[in-house]
């Protein structure tokens, strides 16, 4: 008998249907992946299973768990089912754990309320659970508040809370989306390890995770189930066009379809850039330490690294948005220094920037026409309003939007359209350098593909040089010519795309690549290549900053910071690279 059975589940908000006639089952001990793009109804389904649909949702259809119809249960009976029979781990543990309560208290209350344990016994069980999810020093974590833990540790606590009452079914809603790739690998390992016989419903947009961790998969498109079956079978021969599209849009780090090398002349150079911020108590946080960078005409240079690696600080300093403590930026033969306000207009317009959250980056009170035309008002004052409109229309055309978008406001655009507007706004001044800071991270697979090919097309036509900041190595693999790897604000490695991905020289680069889940069920998932998390930038480890997590670390790494060396065209900062 199946543990969970959904039949004709529909969820509506007014006239909008978010889940439409959905039916599937999850058997005891089975692991099932529920995949789809944003807005496909994955999370809505999970909430409906637990009876937690938000206010205003009209839920119809049947949800049966272990034979009983959940609609017929009283609130009390439903509460008894939650945590004890069905546990759930939510996406962003910095929001999903109570910031005002100690971690131990939050876990303990589950045991107490469900009558599983009380008093000292409950404390003991909580400690044991914290130990199982791999939190060191459990006594201290018991007393900690969530904000005192790192992102990975918080997600471990979240999993502990979902599993502490030993449910029969675990629902994990995008459990690793907010995490860095090496930590994501650790959490996925942990999930496999502590699940035992608990059935798993894993909600994700990442086909790589499904491929490695789910026996069966269900594909949702705008609230409808379009495909279902064994993971290996669906990957091999997807039944529905949408599944095929999802698979095609999933970037693969093991692809060989990469851009050809370019040989333009140098346009931007950065030498020993150092950026630091003042912290409380007059300590300085070194976000970027002594990093070099060079960029050529027509080239895409990717900067990769986990959160806190200094990617964004480095480009902010190049653009003059934050002050550089030392080092210099050379653009087209002349030195660029000081804040952007004090740089010449000509220099300012030739370096443009687009951000991760396109809708947030556009002024909500302005129409597309003014948003895209605004840079012209500042930089090309000689244009008549007619000429300006012509240029705006032209820029919109370049990013694949017709004149019908001119009068729209940002909230009337989809994420992909808004990012196109942001790109049009950056390109209208015909810059030579475009900085993309996680510019496709918030976009769904197919839209991401479109934006990436748009960037490639503009580059081919205009010789635009692009700095592409990303945490997603599979995307980087598919778009960049060269890749620069950073860790804790330090230079790690820079190489041509193919050289870096095929022969990573630095152990950190190697770990980053290994940690990326491959969307192919036939490639067995690898164990997390790195343990632990990125240390605080306020207390960087002595010697090589990577040594506490490095598999190759030796005495020399603990004592001295490695300088950059050239090996076969790769520049790398590691004592042990060869």
């Amino acid at each position: 008998m199946s543990l969970l059975e959904l039949e004709k589940l529909s969820i509506r908000y007014g006239n909008t249907t978010v889940v439409d006639n959905l039916g599937f089952t999850v058997g005891e001990g089975e692991s099932v992946g529920l995949v789809g793009e944003s807005g496909s109804g994955k999370s809505q389904t999970a909430l409906a299973i637990l009876g937690l649909s938000p206010r205003g949702a009209q839920v119809s259809g049947n949800i049966r768990f272990a034979g009983s119809d959940l609609a017929e249960l009283s609130q009390r009976e439903l509460d008894k089912l939650r945590a004890r029979r069905i546990g759930i781990a939510f996406q962003d543990p910095s929001q999903a754990l109570n910031p005002y309560l100690r971690v131990g208290r939050q876990l303990r209350e589950i045991l107490v309320r469900h009558g599983i344990a009380k008093g000292k016994d409950a404390d003991r069980q909580v400690m044991a659970m914290l130990e199982r999810v791999g939190l060191p020093d459990t006594e201290r974590q018991f007393m900690a508040y969530p904000h005192q833990l790192s992102g990975g540790m918080r997600q471990r606590v979240m999993l502990a809370s979902a599993l502490i009452a030993q449910p029969d079914l675990l629902i994990a809603d995008e459990p690793t989306t907010a995490l860095d790739v090496t930590v994501q690998a650790q959490i996925l390992d942990l999930l496999e390890e502590i699940r035992d016989n608990t059935a798993l419903l894993l909600i994700t947009h990442d086909l790589g995770i499904v491929a490695g961790h789910c026996e069966r998969m269900l594909v949702l498109e705008r609230g409808r189930l379009v495909d279902a079956g064994a993971t290996t079978a669906l990957f091999a021969s997807p039944g529905h066009a949408h599944t095929r599209a999802l698979l095609a849009a999933a970037p693969r780090i093991d692809t060989s379809d990469i851009p050809d090398a370019v040989h333009g002349k140098s346009i931007l150079g950065v030498e020993s850039a150092t950026v630091s911020y003042e912290e409380r108590g007059s300590r300085r946080l070194h976000a970027v330490s002594d990093v070099d960078l060079s960029l050529h005409v027509g080239e895409t240079l990717a900067i990769v690294g986990e959160s806190g690696s200094g990617k964004s600080s480095l480009v902010s300093a190049i653009l003059g948005l934050v002050p550089m403590e030392s080092g210099c930026v050379v653009y087209a033969g002349s030195e660029l220094n000081g804040p952007v306000e004090r740089r010449g207009k000509r220099q300012a317009r030739e370096l443009q920037l687009i951000f991760q959250d396109p809708i947030g980056a556009l002024n909500p009170q302005m129409r597309v026409r003014s948003l895209v035309g605004e840079p012209l008002v500042v930089h090309e004052t000689q244009l008549s309003s007619r000429q300006r409109l012509g240029r705006v229309t032209e820029a919109l055309e370049q990013v694949g939007l017709d004149a019908g978008y001119l009068e729209r406001f940002p909230h009337e655009l989809s994420g992909g359209q808004a990012q196109r507007v942001a790109i049009a706004r950056a390109l209208i001044l015909r810059p030579n350098v475009l900085v993309c800071d996680e510019a496709v991270a918030a976009l769904d697979g197919s839209v991401r593909q479109q934006v990436l090919s748009l960037l490639r097309q503009v580059q081919d036509e205009t010789g635009l040089a692009i700095i592409f900041i990303s945490h997603d190595l599979a995307v980087v693999r598919s778009i960049s010519h060269r890749v620069l790897v950073m860790y804790m604000g330090r230079f790690v490695e820079v190489a041509e795309n193919d050289a870096l991905f095929r022969h990573p020289r630095h152990p950190y680069t190697r770990a980053l690549i290994e940690a990326v889940p491959v969307p192919d069920p036939l490639v067995p998932p690898r164990k997390a290549p790195l343990q632990g998390e990125v240390p605080s930038l306020l207390k960087p480890p002595p010697g090589c900053v990577f040594h506490p997590r490095c598999p190759l670390a030796s005495d020399v790494c603990r004592q001295s910071c490695p300088g950059a060396r050239d090996i076969d065209g790769t520049r790398v900062a590691c004592h042990h690279a060869d």
Binding site: L47, Q75, R82, D92, A96, L97, I110, R113, H114, S161
Partner: protein, 307 residues
Amino acid sequence: MLRYTLLRLLGAIPTLLLVIVLAFLMVHAAPGGPFDAERALPADVEANIARAYHLDEPLPQQFLRYLSGLLQGDLGPSFRYRDYTVNELIGAAFPLSLKLGAMAMALALVLGVSAGTAAALRQNSTLDRVVMAFAMTGISIPVFVVAPILVLFLAVKLQWLPAGWSSTTSASRLVLPVITLALPQIAYIARLTRASMIDVLSRDFIRTARAQGLGTMTVVRLHALKPAMLPVLSYMGPAIAAILTGSVVVEEIFGIPGLGQFFVRAAGNRDYTLVLGIVVFYATLIVLLNLVVDILYGVIDPRVRQR
């Protein structure tokens, strides 16, 4: 935390100094003086009195004299209550005002928070609408209108409660003044609680708690109440100030011999030192209580504590 407290205390000094200067100037700017009477006194007698109370000195000198007394905790002699110092008068009248204010505040918190929470849990229900309509009324109608209405119905018509202070010695004489004083605060706190509770209940961690099967009561008590109380806590500073000023009116209406009544009389009498003394005393009290509120903020929100 100690460092923070000390810094805040130091920061309060300019505020208090400004209050003292302004109050001093305003008291002296008001026409008339403490010793004006129906019948004019002979000029030499008047000059004698003025000399005895240093009123003949130039204003800056009077101010410095007052300030030096203040630094030693001496608020000076009262100009009208001849044999008493201001310290003694405050010491005698304040306990009653404190009792009144504390009871009103406690009532406002208990009723306001419960009504606000109930309304938030049943958003847009009849209960919610009734609570919010009551709150709107409570905020809109001033104390000097509410008090006579309450007296008219509860004391005069229904005769449930005594109308004034001196008509009885039982504790029941506190009821009407406390209700009058608390009413706008109940209303304000109920609205604040409702809004912040609705906000907190929509956060992700509340969904997590509900997904853990904790039940509404536990979710509210354990997970939602603390964060929902933060806006109410920040309102405590202004609320304390409002209750102190409200007590001036309420004590006058009900004839309660508290500090508020002394204040009104002293202002009418041009009792310079007493008016100033009460202003300085209340200002210090408000500054200190605001500091306590800020420290409590850190107790509730662990993220503030670390900063």
